[in-house]
């Protein structure tokens, strides 16, 4: 009896391994209602909880999504359409040679702990990013030569060479400003300059923000925001339907129909989430261009998007919200017959491949690919793994044939396709050259053109298949105004949101 109990207890405990969930992005239109309630609480249901709140040392969309712009701010930030605008800086200037960035700070800014913001805080925060390898975004500061403060309200950053991405990187966690010599434990507490303060974090349940009443700018429209983390998509919908949350994002497209006939509005937001079917370009059999081309020809992208239920086809590595986007649909077609003959030419008529996919992406994409590849004579085995296993096997060790994940980072062309060490195993000197040129070009339009050229080559090389670009479905109650729609898996600007009685 006893021994059996012991064994069962251990097995029960060992067997409890499940996966996490991926977030998405969306929003309704910002018409301010006359009856907005300044004392209201906004309740938002999200999927993926941050692992901790230390945005300096922990990467992840779940932290960025809620903390950037709301709790912490940088000199500049970006709108939901990825346009760069000033935040803690009242203005910024870039010298004609693209090497000197001069920022003028807003006046009267204080941290929620009471300290006034000065240029010394910015210098300290940014110098740390440049010097400390463990800080998120360290590599984005590689071209920084100096960070100085000529006076209390001016910060000057000089670069060793022009960098088209530098200003954008200041809109990411690397650009956030923290109080100098602050001793706040950032893992569970916060001391920022934003319109909200961190009130409470009930781990495994919810995070609560309170309006920062001493905020330097226009005060937020709601008194309190509660983020409830609901990892199960179906129970997220239940939470919205039983009035436990006012907004739910992301809504699983397969469950969107449950909101029909309710007061909720479903918005569809643009994202930079590239659903990449990665080919291991560095290893047989996918080092063979014919095999890669055949696999792309076997995929009917429109049918796939329909099966997924959200998103748009994407035929190259750059999504619409990023510079360098162009419509590359002419490069890709659906032609299973041609795929078969290419495979025959390559001597790979009876090909067996394995797809490694993190389990939280569900089965829709994998099921579609199994049947699509089967039609051209390729037997696809699906290896569904937990995300940490994917990170080790695929991302770190490049031990895979095909892989599927959503690449959510905006402007990641350089770190992926122009990086031979990346798990894609893709090397093309022409692409790397074009990317390098685009990065060093000061004129933004000129730079984007070079980038588009590089992206086109990557797609022509069939270096991967971009199955679709994600859309985020958000369910918004009619009492909520101004909830953003686009890019909300990377940030949700809460300051303009109001709730009516």
């Amino acid at each position: 009896m006893f021994r059996r109990t012991a064994v069962i207890a251990t097995i029960a405990a060992l067997a409890l391994t499940l996966g996490a969930c991926a977030g998405g992005s969306a929003a309704p239109d910002p018409t301010t209602s006359a009856a907005a309630d300044a004392d209201a609480t906004l309740r938002v249901g999200l999927v993926l909880e941050p692992t901790n709140l230390d945005i300096r040392h922990t990467s992840g969309a779940a932290l960025e999504q809620i903390l950037v712009d709301n709790i912490y701010q940088g000199l500049v930030t970006r709108t939901q359409d990825n346009e760069i605008v000033d935040a803690l800086a009242s203005k910024h200037e870039i010298s004609a040679d693209g090497l000197t960035y001069t920022f003028t700070l807003q006046e009267g800014v204080t941290f929620s702990g009471g300290q006034p913001l000065t240029s010394a805080d910015v210098v300290a925060a940014y110098t740390q990013v440049k010097d400390d390898e463990t800080i998120v975004g360290h590599s984005d500061f590689a071209d920084v030569a100096s960070i100085t403060a000529p006076d209390e309200s001016t910060v000057v950053i000089t670069l060793t060479q022009p960098n088209q991405n530098f200003l954008f990187s200041l809109t990411t966690p690397a650009g956030l400003v923290f109080a100098k010599d602050d001793t706040t434990d950032l893992k569970t507490a916060a001391n920022g300059t934003g319109p909200f303060t961190l009130e409470d974090w009930k781990q495994g349940d919810s995070i609560t923000f309170a309006r920062n009443d001493s905020y330097w700018g226009e005060k937020a429209g709601v008194k309190e925001v509660v983020f409830s983390y609901i990892p199960d998509f179906s129970s997220g919908v239940n939470a919205a339907l039983d009035d436990s949350v006012d907004v739910l994002t992301a809504v699983d497209p397969n469950l969107a129909s449950r909101f029909e006939g309710t007061d909720f509005t479903i918005t569809r937001g643009k994202t930079t989430d590239k659903a990449v079917l990665a080919f291991n370009n560095a290893a047989a059999p996918l080092d063979d261009p014919k095999v890669r081309e055949a696999l792309r020809l076997a995929i009917d992208h429109k049918a796939l998007v329909e099966a997924v239920g959200a998103g748009q086809p994407l035929y190259g590595p750059i999504p619409e919200l990023d510079p360098g986007y162009e419509d590359l649909s002419s490069l890709v077609s659906y032609d299973p017959e041609k795929a078969k003959s290419l495979l025959a030419e390559a001597g790979k008529s009876n090909l067996s491949l394995t797809l490694t996919i993190p389990s939280f992406y569900g089965t829709t994409v994998a099921t579609y690919l199994v049947s699509a590849f089967n039609k051209v004579g390729v037997k696809l085995t699906v290896n569904s793994v937990e995300f940490p296993t994917w990170l080790t096997d695929v991302y770190q060790n490049h031990d895979y044939q095909l892989s599927f994940v959503l690449h959510v980072e905006p402007r990641d062309f350089g770190s992926t396709w122009a990086n031979p060490d990346y798990y894609f195993g893709y090397t093309n000197a022409q692409v790397s050259d074009l990317y390098e040129k685009s990065l060093r070009t000061v004129d933004a339009d000129e730079s984007a053109k070079l980038l588009a050229e590089a992206a086109k080559i990557v797609s022509q090389d069939n270096a991967a298949d971009w199955l679709y670009v994600g859309e985020t479905l958000t369910a918004v109650s009619p009492i909520v105004q101004g909830f953003p729609t686009d890019s909300i898996n990377s940030r949700i600007d809460l300051s303009q949101i109001t709730v009516t009685e």
């Binding site: 069962i8 405990a13 409890l16 463990t134 569970t188 199960d232 997220g236 990170l391 991302y395």
Partner: protein, 316 residues
């Protein structure tokens, strides 16, 4: 009896020690790296290596184990690699959801399993008995997650009697709401576990009906049913007690599924999240605690079993 107790106490000490080694080793061969997760997909190999060093993941295995188990003996289960919060504190907080949930589930299981198990045995060969057996067989085969979804659709979304998900943020300060939010989850686990229990009760009752003492009582003029209720059921109770320990392990596994389904901030959901994050100190602390709880309950049931069954007492 003394010898019996001593062996149980010895097992209670040795069991968790062995379990701790198994848990520790199983987690080290588990693929995935918390440092890589923290650094994310933009992290450089150098950054990951530095993080591993900072988190103490480069220490020899036995040093890590001794550090951990030494802490456990001092009542310190360690701290989370990710949040720095104490494993013990987190467990205590989440137990406020999971312990009441487990107790309520056990109660539901007993309310379903015992009366219907006895009725099913009494009605053997009749329609009522077959119907109960059939329903029990069907319920015992239902996946917990499916039972939960059905209950939500009927009682929360359709009838709107009970909340569909969640637990009040203020916890047990809002007692009625907290209680209401655990009813459907407890029913979900309890009905499925109760159906399993029902079959044990049924066979134990059938066994009792053939025992000599029931026949003797019947011969003295009691009806067969009354003889069974008076002399048979105490014996049925003894066999139920001995399987309740096992049922508890089933309830713990059910809690993991149900806490996700009903979005409850309990130990099961915490465990799933921590495994996903490869937060090893949290996972091993949680697993060791669960193992010890199940072991202790098993031993307590064993002892109770001895105490109430005079035949076993005499045998030792």
């Amino acid at each position: 009896m003394t010898r019996f107790l001593l062996t149980r106490v010895a097992l209670l000490i040795a069991g968790p020690l062995v379990a701790s080694i198994l848990i520790f080793l199983a987690l080290r061969v588990f693929p995935g790296d918390v440092a890589q997760l923290i650094a994310g997909s933009k992290g450089t190999p150098a950054q990951v290596a530095q993080l591993r060093e900072q988190l103490g993941l480069n220490e020899p295995l036995w040093t890590q184990y001794v550090d951990w188990i030494g802490g456990v003996f001092r009542g310190d289960l360690g701290t989370s690699l990710l949040t720095g919060s104490s494993v013990t504190e987190q467990l205590a907080e989440k137990a406020q959801v999971t312990v009441p949930l487990a107790l309520m589930s056990m109660l539901v299981a007993l309310l379903v399993g015992v009366p219907f198990g006895v009725l099913s045995a009494l009605g053997r060969g009749k329609r009522s008995g077959s119907a109960i057996s059939f329903i029990a067989q069907a319920l015992a085969s239902v996946p917990v997650i499916w039972a939960g979804m059905l209950l939500v659709i009927v009682f929360a979304l359709w009838l709107q009697w009970l909340p569909a998900q969640g637990f009040p943020r203020g916890g047990w300060n809002h007692t009625p709401q907290a209680f209401a939010s655990l009813v459907l989850p407890a029913l979900t686990i309890g009905v499925v576990e109760g159906a399993v229990l029902l079959r044990f009760v049924r066979s134990a009752t059938l066994q009792a009906m053939t025992e000599d003492y029931v026949r003797t009582a019947a011969a003295q003029g009691l009806t067969r049913t009354r003889a069974l209720l008076r002399d048979g059921l105490p014996n049925v109770a003894i066999s139920i007690i001995s399987i309740l320990g096992l049922q508890f392990a089933g309830i713990v596994v059910g809690a993991v599924v149900v806490e996700k389904l009903f979005n409850l901030p309990g130990i099961g959901r915490m465990l799933v999240t921590d495994v996903g994050n490869r937060d090893l100190p949290m996972v091993q602390g949680e697993m060791l605690t669960l193992t010890v709880v199940v072991l202790v309950i098993g031993v307590v049931m064993d002892v109770v079993h001895r105490l109430i069954d005079p035949r076993l007492r005499e045998a030792s």
